[in-house]
């Protein structure tokens, strides 16, 4: 009977080792949640709960981003205010997303809808980006609407709209304002049994039509003096290299697509704005400027480098981009009217012709500093430094271009 120890001890030992090696699923749990202190069954349950609930935590997250309490439980989760603004990771270029999305899983009276995703995505950058529609998308991949929105209207949890409503609300908020037409089949749907099933193909390869950009906008303000504000839209894009989104980042589609009828594009809807709201798009760059920079008593002329700085841009300089000299930072850096401000050093290979002066044969062999004494290229060299009988500018060491 005493020999039984010899059998039992190895069995217990091996059992222990095996259980350590094949710990069920613990790895995948740890992959997402970094809770070491709880048992594996609890870990499993927690994983299951978070996967199935509407939270859809799909990336590695710190528990503290959502939970305030030390040991959150199902009944008392101790949730913080939704931290989604810090978690959202749906930033893709329009090209990454699908061209069209077919929405037809619950069509009843109407056919499904071929949603031109790309067109909307292209323009979405100006109105808050993807999250304008893909709201509540926490971390990880872009989620389907039906991940959270139930397709059944009679459901237990009525805190979220159902799927049909979720789709429609996305579209209707803009489209209802865009067009006062109540018809479903004028824009998105076709009535079932009326021939074509869905408007296939119409939205394939569809991109937003080229925007008709203004050159110049002139406003007349209410002030008594300096009424006129002129804004050169094209200059801001072409000369100052601003992207659309640097100003238009929270626009509603309706800003352009207003008007009572669909397709009445371009009519701008004017909303009452506060002074701050009016100045906000400009103030980002022009924060240091005096009012007179924009507010004048007459229309401003378009930007002219020669007029505003006194430096005529000729030949090579005319082709150089603004940022080359003025830096990429807004507002542009002021630059002195000196070659050396940009051209910090000249090497022996420097072709003096470029500076607009071709040397005569007697001068070509000279080094730069022979004439530009002390490496100071800002001063015009003087003949009398070398020659007693010559004087600048009567006698030139070459020919001016």
């Amino acid at each position: 009977m005493k020999k039984i120890h010899f059998i039992l001890i190895p069995i217990v030992f091996f059992g222990y080792v095996l259980s350590k090696v094949f710990q069920p699923d613990s790895e995948s749990v740890k992959d997402k949640f970094t809770v070491e202190s709880i048992s594996s069954t609890e870990q499993n349950e927690m994983k299951k709960f978070h996967d199935n609930s509407s939270l859809r935590v799909t990336q590695k997250l710190n528990c503290k981003s959502c939970h305030s309490s030390e040991y959150p439980t199902k009944d008392d989760p101790g949730l913080l205010g939704c931290p989604r603004s810090e978690m959202i990771s749906v930033y893709h270029s329009p090209e990454e997303g699908p061209e069209t999305v077919l929405i037809n899983e619950m069509s009843d009276y109407y056919s499904g809808v071929e949603f031109p995703h790309k067109v909307h995505a292209e323009m979405s950058e100006m109105s808050g980006g993807c999250t304008g529609c893909h709201h509540y998308n926490t971390t990880g991949p872009v989620l389907n609407c039906r991940k959270c929105h139930e397709s059944s209207r009679s459901r237990e949890d009525v805190s979220l709209p159902d799927l049909k409503a979720a789709y429609h609300r996305q579209c209707m908020t803009c489209h209802k304002q865009w067009s006062n037409d109540n018809g479903c089949s004028t824009q998105c749907h076709t009535r079932k049994g009326s021939g074509s099933i869905i408007n296939t193909g119409t939205s394939k390869n569809k991109t937003h039509p080229a925007l008709n950009l203004p050159t110049k906008l002139v406003w007349e303000t209410n002030s008594k003096t300096n009424k006129i504000v002129t804004f050169f839209h094209d200059e801001h894009i072409n000369k100052f290299n601003l992207s659309c989104t640097s100003c238009h980042n929270q626009e509603s589609c309706i800003k352009c697509h207003a008007g009572k009828n669909r397709g009445d594009i371009g009519k701008l809807s004017r909303k009452e704005k506060s002074i701050e709201e009016h100045h906000q798009p400009c103030a980002n760059c022009h924060f240091g400027n005096s009012c007179q920079k924009c507010h004048r008593d007459k229309e401003m002329l378009s930007f002219d480098h020669a007029r505003s700085s006194g430096w005529v841009l000729k030949s090579y300089h005319a082709k150089v981009s603004c940022t080359k000299c003025h830096g990429t930072k807004m507002p542009y850096r002021k630059v002195e009217h000196k070659c050396v401000t940009c051209h910090k050093s000249f090497s022996a290979e420097f072709d003096h012709k470029l500076a607009g002066f071709t040397f005569s044969e007697g001068h070509t062999g000279l080094e730069c500093k022979n004439c530009h004494s002390g490496g100071d290229f800002t001063k015009t060299p003087v003949c009398t430094d070398c020659h007693d009988d010559k004087s600048f500018p009567q006698d030139l060491p070459g020919t001016r271009k």
Binding site: Y109, R153, S154, R155, V158, S159, P161, D162, K164, A165, H168, R169, M172, T173, K176, Q177, N180, D181, N182, G183, C184, S185, T186, R191, I254, A258, S269
Partner: protein, 318 residues
């Protein structure tokens, strides 16, 4: 309507005070005959109309007519906006209608308000109906019984929302028309027609408690979008249909009603007068005694009342 405001402010207190005195004096030791009301289920229906989500497509009108066998026409014809020019009320041909109101916050997105029977928690029509043709069901709905109704239209007088309508052009079998929360569809496990068709789920259907919670959450989450008032939460003691909106409800032509139930005062008086038939029988006994006493006093009394002192207990069947 100025006097309604008056009712709401100064008068309500007095009104209730007088009502209380009146009712108390009539109730005779609170011996009131309570009607055998079916208790409302905790899971009873609630519907929240989010007027900010409604886009005025009027599909609910079409669905309602179709579900109730009323001439509905083509669904497409409902996209016609011109009907919004005039304020409309539910009627015999449409048990629900949607009306348009101006939205000061965004003129491009007008406010739409659907009207139909509110299915009150304490419905005046049910209390009023002479034959009990209107029933408050356990699930919260208020339904009309074709077999009982005599067409007296007292329900229409009683309803604070002016919902029941009557088929005036019919001589035989005129109906009282009102939303029945699609009782037929629901008995087949379907949702009410308007709720099913609504594209935006501007009509949120669920348990009243859940829906109320959802409404409060919405208001809490978007205090700029909604005013802090759920119309129907407390109005006339609560209703099944409730509304949230971005502007005051009297601007949306919703009657400004107090929280007192519509049949409350009326029923208090009614049960006061009839408290277990005690007051009528007492009056009978009193008059009988008086008759006997006055006759006794006159030795040369008339020949008409020859009886003895009338025994009250014998007249209980009165």
């Amino acid at each position: 309507m100025i006097y309604i405001e008056h009712m709401n402010n100064i008068d309500r207190r007095n009104f209730l005070k007088t009502a209380a005195i009146g009712a108390a004096s009539l109730t005779l030791g609170s011996a009131t005959v309570k009607a055998a009301d079916k208790p409302l289920s905790d899971d009873r229906i609630g519907i929240l109309v989010d007027t900010t989500a409604c886009v005025g497509c009027r599909h609910c009108e079409w669905a309602c007519r179709t579900a109730h066998g009323l001439p509905a026409g083509e669904l497409e014809s409902y996209s016609d906006n011109s009907v919004f020019k005039e304020y409309r009320r539910p009627g015999n041909e449409a048990l629900t209608v949607v009306n348009e109101f101006e939205n000061e916050k965004n003129p491009l997105l007008p406010v739409f308000v659907k009207s139909q029977c509110m299915h009150c928690e304490k419905p005046a029509c049910v209390s009023a109906c002479i034959v009990g043709a209107l029933t408050k069901n356990e699930d919260g709905s208020v339904t009309w019984n074709d077999d009982k109704c005599i067409g007296c239209r007292y329900c229409m007088v009683a309803c604070q929302f002016q919902i029941p309508t009557y088929e005036w052009q019919k001589s035989i079998d005129p109906h009282i028309m009102k939303c029945d929360l699609c009782s037929e569809r629901r008995s087949n496990g379907k949702l009410p027609a308007c709720i099913e068709i609504c594209p935006n789920e501007a009509l949120l259907f669920g348990k009243r408690s859940d829906v109320l919670k959802a409404a409060k959450n919405k208001i809490k989450r978007k205090p700029d979008t909604y005013i802090n008032h759920i119309y129907g939460e407390h109005e006339v003691g609560g209703t099944t249909w409730m509304y949230i909106a971005g502007k005051k409800f009297d601007k949306l032509k919703m009657p400004p009603l107090g929280t007192a139930t519509a049949p409350g005062i009326s029923e208090a008086i009614q049960h006061g007068i009839f408290a277990y038939f005690v007051p009528p029988v007492t009056l009978f006994a009193l008059l009988g005694t008086m008759m006997w006493v006055t006759k006794w006093k006159k030795t040369n009394g008339s020949d008409e009342p020859k009886g003895k002192l009338p025994d009250v207990n014998d007249e209980k069947e009165k």
